[in-house]
Symmetry: C2
Subunit: 338 residues, 2 copies
DNA sequence: CCGTATTACTTAAACGATAAACCGAATCGG
DNA sequence: CCGATTCGGTTTATCGTTTAAGTAATACGG
């Protein structure tokens, strides 16, 4: 289709190698005469030459492409981080192939295999559930990848996560300091390690205040159709636990739904103390006094990309120092608005 | 790195061709004996063979990859549509390379060139501003692409857009019917054709009601730092135009900021009639009575992908009928809540 | 029993770019 | 004046896959 090195070489009666060298800026180094260099450059421009990066990839064994697999791009947090990752990757000359797993395990596995078949140099993955199958395959093959947001405690991989237990602890500690006693913990997806950790932070704060956490204050809105499930949970809370004096939302998604619920029913969110992990702009209106733990998304995106690129580099030059897997915990920024 | 056809061929003492045929399911057709086929299949499985799709792409001249360029993935509307596009493309065996242009022209141009160099089979693009340079290049080269959300009136391309003028007309028509007279039109990015069209719909509704639209009721919050700009605009409206009795937000982004502004200052949004193009879930709480025009995102995503794939297919088989460029207007779903 | 099919494969070329190895002619040092 | 170096390139192989063309060996029909 397009113009190839061969086309240029043919019209100028040179070899493709010469043309390749000059266009790669190695003209002087390779002792190509200045006039010839100029002829090649001009011809290339005139014919509108664009290198075929697929051919280059095949030859060099490097595609300068990364894979990104998220549960859903249509989520405030993931779309933010996707943007950061893309921007950071671009700085180093990498493009992103993007796939959404829909939190389905078989989809995720397919995507990993497909991205590897398409020869991406590395994969950034927010893994679903706790199936390490495809993840283990990458480990076995020494294929560069980083988990982020979620990870598996029992598998030794690169990962970048926030300080889930710690930030929950601090938020709840603060609520308890301010007088809350019955903090409803609204969670989802109970098998997700990071959500368990957030609840553990909740429990630790209670205990360090000399109180025993009440398991009856934990509600789970299943993730499938979480809008409706959140409504059901809120209904139940207001019906059965009038003693609730504070809310801890384990994720922004749940908080938004719960706040909409309250607003629609004329319940003033100001009546309760509130805390939420992650932050969305709508909070400014829906719950101006909510306390939040915000991830420095830029830092997380950057760190994730850097770890992956380090991993990739160390794999390319074998003589360099062996790559050591990195487990990174990004500290959150707490904002107390009450 | 990985296992190649050659590796299998070598261990079985066969030619790569035979292996390639069998693994492609052409064993019978190509008269490869059943025992040999079985041997190849088993060996392939044991060695964990995964085809190198980059090599296949180079050979076939088809990458089964599409490019997607958006102003920002971190926008409710674009992230929704990105998800739909990805899902639909996947059905046909295509992967997405994703780039955000940041609405910067030179970035957009670079992304287009890069994606083409990476040999994507086609590009889906929400173009920035009105520079047709790189777009024209794709046209000249007969490279398959579709514009969506935004387009250029004077260039003959595939595009998929919503009925911008029409839905604005209907929303404003409704507000006027319900008694509004001074509808503040909050817009942004004045050079964007589709936003101009939305304002034209506003004007047409006024005129068809026998009224002359007041240019003083149009406010522009520049897109760069639109949060602050929206605040400035709202300040000005409340200071200088106490006669405003309704708001028309030309985009959901502006509406959210304006509604947060009002809520923070204790201004009841219920005092005003309201209309907005696009819809976000926070509206349910921030402005339950807002009237909206919602894009059927699924339909738009699907249609966009289908047009692009048709374009790609028609380019591949030359004997088929010539591809006719398609301009599609997706009708919006109006929801009147007042 | 000979010519033609059929079976079961292999060889070779191609996709476009890169890189190691090679090569003839001119130049230079001693 | 001869050997070595520099100049200005070219040849060839390679990455992993696909496909058109070829080729032995066997089977078959008349």
């Amino acid at each position: 289709m397009g113009v190839s090195l061969k086309d240029i070489a043919l019209t100028l009666k040179l070899s493709t190698t010469t043309v390749s060298w000059v266009l790669a800026g190695k003209g002087d180094e390779k002792n190509i005469s200045r006039p010839t260099q100029k002829r090649i450059l001009e011809c290339s421009r005139k014919m509108g030459y664009q290198p075929n990066l697929i051919a280059r990839s095949l030859n060099l064994g490097v595609s300068k492409t990364l894979g990104l697999i998220l549960p859903s791009i249509n989520d405030r947090f993931y779309s933010q981080i996707a943007e950061e990752i893309e921007l950071e990757a671009e700085k180093f000359g990498y493009t992103l192939m993007f796939c959404s797993s829909g939190s389905e395990l078989d989809r995720e596995t397919r995507m990993i295999d497909m991205l590897r078949a398409k020869q991406v140099d590395g994969i950034i993955l927010a893994p679903t559930k706790l199936s390490p199958l495809s993840v283990q395959a990458m480990l076995d093959d020494d294929f560069p990848f980083v988990l982020f947001d979620r990870y598996f405690a029992d598998i030794d991989t690169n990962y970048v996560v926030m300080d889930n237990e710690e930030c929950s602890y601090k938020l709840i500690d603060h609520l308890l300091d301010k007088g809350a006693r019955n903090i409803a913990a609204i969670t989802t997806n109970p098998h997700l390690l990071i959500l368990q950790q957030r609840y553990q932070g909740y429990c630790r704060a209670y205990r360090e205040h000399g109180l025993e956490p009440d398991p009856g204050l934990k509600w789970t809105a299943l993730f499938a159709n979480f809008e409706n499930n959140t409504v059901a949970v809120m209904d139940e809370i207001f019906r059965t636990r009038p003693d609730v004096d504070a809310f801890f939302f384990i994720s922004h998604i749940l908080a938004v739904e719960a706040l909409i619920y309250m607003t629609q029913r004329g319940i003033d969110p100001g009546r309760f103390q509130m805390a939420c992990i992650h932050e969305v702009s709508a909070f400014r209106a829906l719950a101006p006094k909510i306390n939040t733990a915000r991830i420095p998304v830029e830092a997380m995106g950057r760190e994730t990309v850097h770890i992956l690129l380090d991993n990739i580099r160390s794999k390319v030059d074998k003589n360099g120092p062996a790559f050591v897997k990195r487990a990174t915990m990004i500290p959150t920024t707490l904002t107390f608005r009450d």
